[in-house]
């Protein structure tokens, strides 16, 4: 019962905040709305027996990415925007139609797959101790060791790339 109530509350919060994010005039508010959505998603993770993912999610997104966004928004000094949506009405309508059709199809796919029982997914082996830190760590350092290491290289490359791109005195004309 509690779970159901929590779920619907979180879902409502996430969707509302997401809508708020894309319609709000001020970029700073949009970023803050995203934080709310991300918090709700962390709540979902907890509900789904993935506390470790939830914790990492909060650290990475709220702690790092969103802060980075806020920095940039403030750095560029972006205030309230007058024309925040695409300028032609045609493209807006087209985008909205695409949105509706896409969402409808996605939900329909879920219905066909699960409610009509069209999708048959066998259950995996591990049943207990889902999502705790040791078991995920074990998996990361055994089966996924190589991708894990490569990911660290990717991050290094991203750091260097970001530094080079953002460095002011590297314009080609100079």
């Amino acid at each position: 019962m509690l779970e159901t109530v929590l779920f619907f509350a979180l879902a409502l919060l996430a969707v509302t905040a997401a809508i708020g994010m894309i319609v709000h005039r001020s970029p700073v508010y949009s970023v803050l709305m995203l934080i709310i959505t991300l918090f709700s998603i962390a709540g979902f993770y907890v509900l789904l027996n993935a506390p470790f993912v939830a914790a990492v999610h909060m650290i990475v997104y709220a702690g790092a990415i969103i802060v980075l966004f806020l920095f940039v928004v403030m750095l560029l000094d972006l205030r309230h925007e007058s024309d925040r949506f695409t300028l032609t009405k045609f493209s807006r309508v087209l985008a909205f139609i695409a949105f509706l059709v896409f969402l409808g199809e996605a939900i329909l796919l879920v219905k066909v797959a699960f409610i009509d029982g069209g999708l048959d997914i066998g259950l995996g082996g591990q049943v207990s101790q889902l999502g705790d830190t040791p078991s995920i760590g074990k998996l990361l350092f055994t089966a996924y060791l190589l991708p894990f290491e490569i990911a660290s290289v990717l991050l290094l490359v991203a750091i260097i790339g970001a530094v080079i791109l953002a460095k002011q005195n590297l314009k080609p004309s100079q």
Binding site: T86, S91, L94, A95, A98, V101, F102, E105, A106, L108, L109, V112
Partner: protein
């Protein structure tokens, strides 16, 4: 060993590839030896196979080597398969044997030519195609080789393509051959339509079950192909012009091998021809008429190679006459001996031209007898052989043809009489040329006369070998006493036919001997006449020519056939092409379609170009539409 039949055509193909691709990095010596060696390897393989073949019972003498299935669609399937039976064996041995000698000769003849490597690669390619033709186990492979030799003929006639006349001769040969090939192809289509297969064994064994008109039509269509390739009326006009090519080409392609492909094809399909008396008669009559016509033209020709070319046409006519009276083994026999002595004469003529800085007009020769002795002696042997003098090769084969033309159930006295007349004409025009070229006073240009020299060894040795073959080649088939050749070949022809139908219907041994004596007398008369007119009383020819001026002009202008074709076929065709096919069809319709489609593309692109607006969100929208389509496929698909 029968699994190695493919090696026979493979070697020349290899030679073609090496000489064709790497030729410009190799020296003349390497190219020449390589090209000749490849043909010699084929020849050796063929000899080994030949002896293995003779080990078998006469009825079972057949090797088949299936490499792979070329195509299989529905009920139709064609294998790449080679067939080595007595007929193929003879053809392969002639092609590779004579071909090898001509390759060796070419090393000397083509020495210093800019296109030396090209020449040898084409020559090897030709050998490859010709071997496909004679080894193929179905009509498709045969047709492949048939087209291949046509291509090589075109390439080699126009070998010195800088000369527009030579290039034109190449085009002429190719186009005239296309007309014949068209008939051949339709014939093959009909065979497939009625027999459902293109395999020789399947088709020939089932030939008796088809209605006669079908067989007749197929045979006549195939014969159209043969008239093109083997230069018979009405498609013979290309062969004299084909002499534009280098002389070894004339010897190999336009005398010894390719032009006999038609004879081979008729012999290969003999089981069908014997079912249709109409087709056989057409073959015999066309052959006889061609032989007569070409022989008369040869009398007046002044060009050493043209005389030989018309002589080739004439001898091919003999072969068709033999095939047309059902004497297939005899046709192949004459094919073989003709390959020997005609290759010999062409090569000797080439040697004469070599000595005289490529002079071909016999009026500018004369008195060469002592200056180029080897060439003269071999030419002399060739002359005796083609005239049918005992015991040279031509005597046995030609006499056999004349006898069969009389005695066969399909033969008649007229065939024999005209055939004997042609034999006399042959002896006359051939010795007219020999006497003009080698005897009498020298009429050679002074400048050229200084350089007269005998050809190098590499050219004279093949001449001597061919002369030896022309001398003894006929001995493999002496009727009644030693008919080895016929006994070897007959099982191939009699496999699907009742042999009883081919017993001589009339005539006796005594009559045969009489006929042989008559043809000998006729031949000697021809030679004697030539000697009188061109050695002893040199004013006679001109006198005779002016006394029958009309006839002489007619013959000298080759019956005006070229002019006739030009007027009734080429000119109207060109006119229609200019007025309709070019001005309307090509410009308006073809160009219209091409330019139109380009314009349509341009306008479509002009619209689509707008989509590349640089607006990222439009690209993203396209991506979403794609995702929507994928989802739709997942759900509804």
């Amino acid at each position: 060993m029968q699994d190695y039949i493919w090696l026979i055509p493979f070697f020349p193909l290899l030679g073609f590839l090496i000489n064709g691709l790497l030729g410009k990095y190799l020296s003349e010596k390497v190219i020449g030896i390589l090209g000749s060696a490849m043909v010699f390897l084929s020849f050796s393989t063929a000899v080994v196979l030949f002896f293995q073949l003779t080990q078998l019972d006469p009825e079972n003498r057949l090797f088949i080597n299936t490499l792979y299935t070329w195509m299989a669609t529905g009920s139709f399937s064609a294998d790449v398969a080679f067939r080595f039976d007595a007929l193929s064996a003879v053809m392969v041995l002639v092609v590779t044997g004579v071909g090898f000698l001509i390759h060796v000769y070419s090393i000397g003849y083509m020495h210093g030519d800019r296109g030396f490597a090209r020449f040898f690669s084409f020559l090897n390619l030709f050998t490859f195609a010709m071997l496909l033709l004679v080894l193929g186990n179905n009509f498709l492979i045969m047709f492949l080789g048939w087209e291949g030799v046509g291509l090589c003929s075109y390439l080699l006639i126009g070998f010195w393509y800088e000369n527009p006349e030579y290039a034109y001769a190449g085009n002429k040969a190719f186009i005239v051959n296309r007309i014949g090939d068209f008939g051949f192809l339709i014939g093959i289509f009909m065979i497939f339509g009625y027999f459902g297969s293109l395999n020789f064994d399947t088709v020939l064994s089932a030939a008796g079950m088809q209605p006669e008109w079908v067989i007749t039509t197929i045979c006549l269509l195939l014969f159209v192909g043969a008239t093109g390739k083997s230069a018979q009326i009405p498609l013979y006009v290309w062969l004299p012009d084909a002499m534009a090519g280098p002389t070894p080409v004339s010897a190999l392609i336009h005398a010894a091998t390719m032009v006999t492909a038609g004879v081979y094809m008729i012999c290969r399909t003999s089981a069908m021809y014997v079912l249709s008396e109409v087709a056989l008669s057409v073959v015999a009559i066309i052959g006889l008429l061609t032989a007569l016509m070409a022989a008369t033209i040869a009398i007046t020709s002044k060009d050493i190679k043209k005389v030989l070319a018309y002589s080739t046409v004439s001898q091919l006519g003999y072969m068709f006459l033999a095939a047309g009276v059902g004497a297939f083994a005899t046709a192949i026999f004459h094919l073989m001996t003709h390959a020997f002595f005609k290759a010999l004469m062409f090569l000797a003529a080439g040697s004469v031209m070599h000595a005289l800085s490529n002079e071909t007009n016999i009026d500018k020769m004369g008195g060469l007898k002592n200056k180029i002795g080897t060439t003269y002696r071999t030419f002399w042997v060739g002359g005796l052989a083609i005239s049918g003098i005992l015991p040279f090769a031509g005597f046995f084969s030609k006499d056999e043809i004349l006898w069969k033309a009389f005695s066969s159930p399909f033969g008649s006295t007229v065939f024999w009489a005209v055939g004997t007349l042609i034999a006399g004409l042959t002896a006359f025009y051939m010795w007219r040329m020999i006497y003009t070229v080698f005897y009498g006073e020298s009429r050679v240009d002074k400048e050229v006369a200084l350089h007269i020299h005998e050809s190098p060894k590499v050219m004279t040795v093949p001449l001597i070998v061919l002369a030896a073959l022309s001398t003894v080649g006929g001995l493999v088939n002496i009727p009644h006493y030693f008919p080895m050749f016929e006994h070897f070949l007959d099982p191939v022809f009699m496999k699907y036919i009742n042999p009883a139908a081919f017993e001589a219907s009339h005539g006796s041994f005594g009559l045969e001997l009489t006929f042989a004596a008559i043809s000998l007398v006729v031949a000697f008369t021809g030679i004697w006449l030539a000697k009188v007119m061109y050695v002893q009383r040199r004013e006679l020819p001109d006198k005779i020519a002016s006394s029958v001026k009309g006839l002489y002009t007619l013959l000298f202008n080759k019956y005006y056939v070229d002019e006739l074709y030009d007027k009734i076929i080429v000119k109207p065709f060109v006119k229609v092409s200019d007025a309709f096919f070019y001005a309307f069809f090509d410009v308006k319709i073809i160009d219209g379609i091409v330019n139109g489609s380009a314009k349509i593309m341009d306008s479509i692109a002009g619209v689509l170009r707008r989509s590349h607006s640089g607006v990222v969100q439009f690209y993203a929208l396209s991506l979403v539409v794609g995702a929507i389509a994928l989802f739709g496929y997942l759900i509804f698909g």
